[in-house]
């Protein structure tokens, strides 16, 4: 593991205006994530986990504070630049898999490549290779509705990895899976992290998932309450 910082957040605050009420989701977060690191963000519901992930990945803007990803400040970027950046350097895995239902498994996986301007043929080859990596090559032409939850999540992982992003954000990526499938998915993530030195930031409320990361950040009321490195016995 190198010490190069991939994600840096300083004094991160996020306030939601819900009618006349202001909800302070993040109250000043400082954070550094280094390349190849696997960080889990844990905490009770409503503590700001997903908000932190959204802000770090650039799909939501913080109310205050600074975020640097691979040395680039997010706050000065236009929406288009941020989107372009996400397309090329960031991967996402969602709780509900969020595959596009009208596309087949391989089409879902190749979508980030097409967005990055890769040729159709090349994109297909790389998508199939990535599907193979998650053990789903033979399901390439199946639509999401024809796959199990675990399979769908593996397709989502393949989609998040296909363009070799600097960092992959996972939001409750095992939330919809049973225990056994959750472990299979986490094994895959850990394996990818170890082999490819892929940086992961995983939001979860499941300790069994969170504890598999190199570092755990515990959030409470919009602040990092505790940060520790779990001891891996396996």
């Amino acid at each position: 593991m190198t010490n190069k910082v991939v994600v840096q957040a300083r004094s991160l605050r996020k306030v939601y205006d819900i009618g006349k009420v202001q909800v302070h989701a993040l109250k000043g977060i400082d954070l550094d994530i280094t390349k190849g690191e696997m960080v889990s963000v844990m905490g009770p519901s409503g503590c700001g986990k997903t908000t932190l992930l959204n802000c770090l990945s650039g799909i939501d803007d913080p109310t205050e504070g600074h975020i640097m990803i691979e040395g680039q400040a997010l706050e000065g970027m236009s929406d288009d630049k941020k989107t372009e950046y996400r397309a090329k350097r960031i991967g996402f895995i969602f709780q509900a898999y969020n595959l596009l239902p009208v596309l087949t498994a391989v089409e879902n996986v190749e979508l980030p490549l097409l967005l990055a301007g890769v040729k159709l043929k090349e994109a297909r080859v790389r998508a199939l290779k990535t599907l193979d990596l998650v053990g789903l090559k033979k399901w390439e032409s199946h639509r999401p509705s024809e796959l199990s939850g675990g399979e769908q999540q593996r397709v989502a992982i393949a989609r998040s990895l296909v363009n070799n992003p600097a960092i992959v954000f996972g939001d409750e990526l095992t939330g919809n899976l049973d225990e056994e499938t959750s472990m299979q998915v986490m094994d895959l993530i850990c394996d990818l992290n170890e082999k490819n030195k892929q940086t992961f930031v995983i939001v979860t409320h499941d300790p069994a998932v969170g504890e598999q990361a190199h570092r755990v950040l515990r959030l409470r009321d919009g602040l990092i309450e505790k940060e520790y490195r779990p001891i891996h016995t396996g």
Binding site: I59, D60, P101, V102, A116, K119, L120
Partner: protein, 996 residues
């Protein structure tokens, strides 16, 4: 029971039942009403789409109302108090080619007068004996002339019974005093304006006396006469003054009897029934039977009672019903599109509410409760949409009538807007019922759900093989198709003949899908339907089938159904082809992939929307094609209608022209300016086709052609009897054989894609018709039917044959071919003919100008139809608008994901725009292609055998079609773009959290 009352009762009963159910089932009612107002924007779009059907029905009825009102008014204005005319058989007031009635003894009138006074004619309140002739008139002071004025010789005392005459100040004219001096006359304002006459002026009328010599056949000596009359009063063109809508002269009966050397005789008795101008015709049947019984007691000349007002009213009723039918049939496409929209909306609403429905079912709601819930909601939609649609229809009809008014305004027709409340009620009821029935069907379909799948929003599994019930429906369609096909042959119906195989093929596809891949089964079935309808093959194999407008509607519906089916079952291939084609444009690929994948996944929704667009664009394209054909068919129309002649002339029947060729050779301004001059004498008789029976007998004009006509005319033939190879063979046969005749194009049975000509009998070459002559019925064989139907309509025979049956007649219809065909020369010749034969009341027509004007009017009407049918696009656009609004909501999470993985805002916006454009462009393309394809047939009808495919391609109105396409696309974009922008504005983090 009255039709309006029946439909009102039906609607009341249906909605009363729905209302009663809604009162009883509180929770379903509440859910339905809350669902109704749940999404207000949706509500507006849904109502907008649903009201189109009602609007189309109402507008077609109201256009019919207006036309009926206009026609009826014109009859009331022309006939005033007159309900029947009594004259000798053969003379017929509605045919102005003859105009001459035979004279009969005045005692007939006296007998009727006595009978009336004795109360034997209780249905009659007025009798007027007349001498009626049409004559040319000239004002010596102004030198202006009117070639055809109506001269009425009236008994001023009896005249009051037929209503009054009013002078320009509105005072009733004392006819007795105005006509007390022999040589005095009353004229109407129309004639006064034509010749610029004033009260106190003298006018000159020209007429002819016939003196028969002893030759065999008898040829009359013609003695030209002149009579000067003093204009004592100019009366308004109202009531009796407007009689026959012409330029009228009223003189004393004795003067006219003296002029025409017919003392003690008259040639017309006008009868007024009890009641006013409008209600008098109700008494026609009783009046006829009363008059008949009086006349039966008299010997001598048999007289005919012509029920002129009743006949004309019936005729206009048929005409306006026919126009309503044309509008309704044309509007069928929009109505079908509206029905598709209702189904689409309900299926979409059901998809949106599927989890709720699943939960409701899980909690104990029965399937019928779900149906009720949708029916309650749908009924509210139906009633609101029908109510607004009725007034929208009224507005559309107003627009149409006003537009018709501007088209025909130049020809002097006034077109006031008029509607009957009954039409609005029927429009409302039919619109509400159609929507309700569709809602009922759609509710039944959407209520069939699996509870677990519905709650978890899991898509319904695609069945590998169709169910037995599905196959049974297919078998039913096959059987129905066979039955309809053979029924079509038996009933000589082209519509049935063509529809049967379509149903057969569709059913066959459904059955085959059980054993072969459904894609293959439906591809073959739909391609076969397209081939059956569009292939340039005459499938009838010589069968003579009748077809009308319904053929166009049925062909259109099946063509669109087949094309959409073919497209949807092969959508994956289409998608791959498109993706590959655009693969080089890398920036487009991600947008296009999503934009095309969604419509292809939601096949039902997309198919229905494509169908809506395709149906409407199909009809608009066909109309645009026909308009183009018309614009470009002046030359072929000229060949068909003109028979190589340039000018047609009509002389006044009272002043026929004897030996016109010789007559012209004496006149320096006309001599040597013609290559050809032919003539026809004209009569009128009741005629029916033997095939149709005596009950179909109608008055028809009969033409007796001269030798020159038989030798020189170039009229083309629509059909000829077997055994005749050329038009000249046919004409030679008619000339030589008195049992043979030719009829005009309006009598042909196989007119495609257009309304049938009203008042024409139908016959085929080789069949027999019966002429009802004074000597009894005479059978004639139709040896050919000419294409021409614009300048003379009726039965053509030799002049000798006509004279044999109807007495000696002099020619009054003339055909001229100019030596110099330049149009300016032809126009000047036409004017010279009118001037030279002023005293014969010669009126001429420059054939090319009339055809041009006719085609221009026809084109304007077609353009109007295009706009009318284009209204149906509202349905398609509303449909797409709703789908887009719904799609944005439905896909909010997916939009979030797309934004997260790198779709920029504009890419999201473009995805939606491309998606709606793809659907609309595909629908439009299908509609245009099918419209152009079907038009190829119509093209053949226009241009005949000389038509080539290359010429057809040149006649496609590319610009017009492009304009239609652009307008449809622009409106589609307008309806969907705000949703696309809204989708682009969605913040990804919020989109990912979104729950409906």
């Amino acid at each position: 029971m009255d039709g309006t009352l029946s439909i009102v009762l039906l609607v009341v009963v249906v909605f009363a039942i729905v209302g009663a159910l809604a009162l009883r089932n509180v929770s379903q009612r509440k859910m339905a009403m809350r669902n109704l107002i749940r999404r207000k924007k949706n509500l507006v779009i849904v109502i907008g789409g649903l009201l189109v059907g009602t609007a189309i029905i109402t507008s077609s009825l109201v256009v019919g109302d207006s036309l009926s009102y206009i026609f009826r008014n014109s009859i009331y204005q022309q006939l005033g108090e007159i309900d029947e005319l009594i004259h000798t058989p053969g003379g017929n007031q509605s045919g102005n080619e003859t105009g001459i009635f035979s004279y009969f003894n005045y005692s007939y009138y006296e007998e009727l007068r006595v009978a009336k006074n004795q109360g034997e004619l209780p249905s009659v309140d007025g009798l007027l004996p007349m001498v009626y002739e049409t004559v040319p008139v000239m004002s010596p002071r102004t030198q202006l002339s009117e070639p055809s004025a109506n001269l009425f010789g009236i008994d001023p005392q009896a005249s009051r019974e037929l209503g009054d005459l009013w002078d320009s100040s509105g005072s009733v004219v004392d006819e007795e005093s105005a006509l007390s001096v022999p040589g005095n006359a009353i004229i109407n304002r129309r004639l006064a304006n034509s010749v610029d006459a004033e009260e106190g002026d003298s006018i000159t009328i020209f007429y002819t006396l016939f003196r028969f010599n002893m030759s065999n056949p008898p040829v009359p000596d013609v003695i030209p006469m002149v009579q000067n009359l003093n204009v004592t009063v100019i009366v308004r063109n109202e009531g009796k003054g407007n009689f026959l809508g012409g330029s009228n002269i009223f003189a004393s009966l004795s003067l006219t009897q003296q002029m025409f050397e017919r003392p003690g005789t008259i040639n017309l008795i006008a009868v007024s029934n009890v009641g006013d101008t409008e209600t008098g015709a109700d008494k026609t049947d009783s009046a006829v039977s009363e008059i008949d019984s009086v006349l039966a007691g008299m010997g001598g000349t048999p007289l005919e009672i012509e029920t002129i007002k009743q006949d004309n009213l019936e005729f206009v009723e048929t005409a306006s019903e026919m126009i309503t039918e044309v509008f309704s049939l044309m509007g069928t496409f929009s109505i079908v599109a509206g029905i598709i929209l209702v189904i689409n909306i309900f299926v979409m609403l059901a998809e949106e509410r599927k989890p709720e429905m699943g939960i409701s079912r899980a909690l104990g709601m029965k399937r019928r409760h779900l149906v009720q819930m949708y029916v309650f909601e749908g009924s509210a939609y139906a009633l609101i949409a029908a109510f607004i649609g009725t007034f929208a229809g009224l507005a559309i009809a107003y627009f149409m009538v006003t537009a018709f008014g501007s088209i025909f305004g130049a020809a002097g027709f006034e077109m006031p807007f008029h509607f009957e409340v009954d039409s609005l009620i029927i429009g409302f009821c039919l619109g509400a019922l159609i929507t309700f029935l569709t809602v009922l069907f759609a509710s039944w379909v959407v209520s069939r759900l699996n509870i677990v799948r519905a709650i978890r929003a899991i898509p319904e599994p695609i069945k590998e093989k169709p169910s037995g019930r599905f196959v049974a429906v297919g078998a039913l369609l096959v059987a129905l198709g066979v039955l309809i096909f053979y029924g079509g042959i038996a009933q000589k119906s082209m519509a049935y003949f063509m529809t049967g195989p379509c149903l057969f093929l569709l059913g066959g596809g459904m059955i085959a899908s059980r054993w072969v891949h459904s894609r293959a089964a439906y591809s073959v079935a739909s391609a076969a339907i397209l081939f059956w309808i569009l292939a340039p093959i005459d499938w009838t194999g010589g069968l003579e089938l009748e077809s009308g407008m319904e053929m166009f509607v049925l062909s259109g519906l099946f063509l669109v159904l087949a094309a959409i089916l073919l497209l949807m079952v092969n959508s994956t291939t289409l998608l791959n082809v498109l993706t590959r084609a655009l693969a080089r444009r890398r920036k487009i690929v991600p947008v296009m992939r999503i934009a095309l994948s969604y419509p292809m996944k939601k096949k039902f929704r997309t198919g229905m929307t494509l169908g809506m667009f395709a149906l409407i664009i199909f009809t608009v394209t066909v109309i645009a094609m026909i308009t183009s054909f018309q614009r470009n068919s002046v030359e072929s129309a000229f060949v068909e209608e003109a028979g190589s002649y340039d000018i047609i002339g009509f002389s006044n029947p009272s002043t026929p022209i004897v030996n016109i060729s010789e007559n012209i050779s004496y006149r320096p301004s006309l001599a040597n300016r013609f290559d050809e001059i032919s003539s026809m004498s004209v009569s009128r008789a009741n005629v029916y086709a033997v095939e149709q029976g005596e009950n179909s007998s109608i008055p028809v004009t009969l033409y007796g052609a001269d030798e020159r006509f038989f030798e020189e005319n170039d009229f083309t033939f629509h059909s000829m009897m077997v055994g005749y190879d050329s038009p000249q063979d046919v004409w030679d046969a008619v000339r030589a054989d008195p049992s043979l005749v030719v009829t005009d194009g309006s009598t042909a049975v196989d007119i495609h894609y257009g309304p049938e000509t009203i008042g024409a009998f139908r016959i085929e070459a080789g069949e027999e018709l019966v002429l009802q002559t004074m000597a009894g019925p005479v059978n004639k064989t139709v040896v050919g039917i000419v294409d021409q139907s614009l300048f003379f309509q009726g039965v053509v025979m030799s002049d000798a044959t006509l004279n044999y049956h109807f007495g000696a007649r002099l020619p009054s219809l003339f055909f001229f071919t100019a030596s110099d065909p330049d149009i300016e020369n032809v126009r000047s010749l036409s004017k010279d003919l009118e001037r030279e034969f002023l005293t014969s009341g010669m009126q001429t027509i420059v054939i090319r100008d009339v055809i041009q004007e006719f085609l221009e009017i026809s084109s304007s009407i077609m353009n109007l139809f295009q706009v009318y049918l284009g209204l149906g696009l509202i349905v398609g656009i509303a449909g797409l608008g709703i789908i887009t609004v719904r799609s944005v909501v439905e896909r909010t999470n997916e939009i979030g994901v797309m934004r997260a993985i790198g779709y920029k805002r504009r890419m999201i916006r473009n995805t939606f725009i491309l998606e709606t454009s793809f659907v609309s462009i595909t629908g439009i393309t299908v509609g245009v292609l099918l419209g152009v394809g079907l038009s190829y047939y119509i093209y053949g009808d226009f241009f005949g055998e000389g038509a080539t495919f290359l010429e057809f391609m040149n006649l496609i109105p590319y610009l017009n079609i492009l304009l239609i396409t652009m307008v449809a696309l622009a409106f589609t974009l307008l309806a969907t773009i705000s949703s696309a922008f809204r989708a682009a504005r969605i913040v990804p983090a919020e989109a990912l959290r979104f729950k409906e």
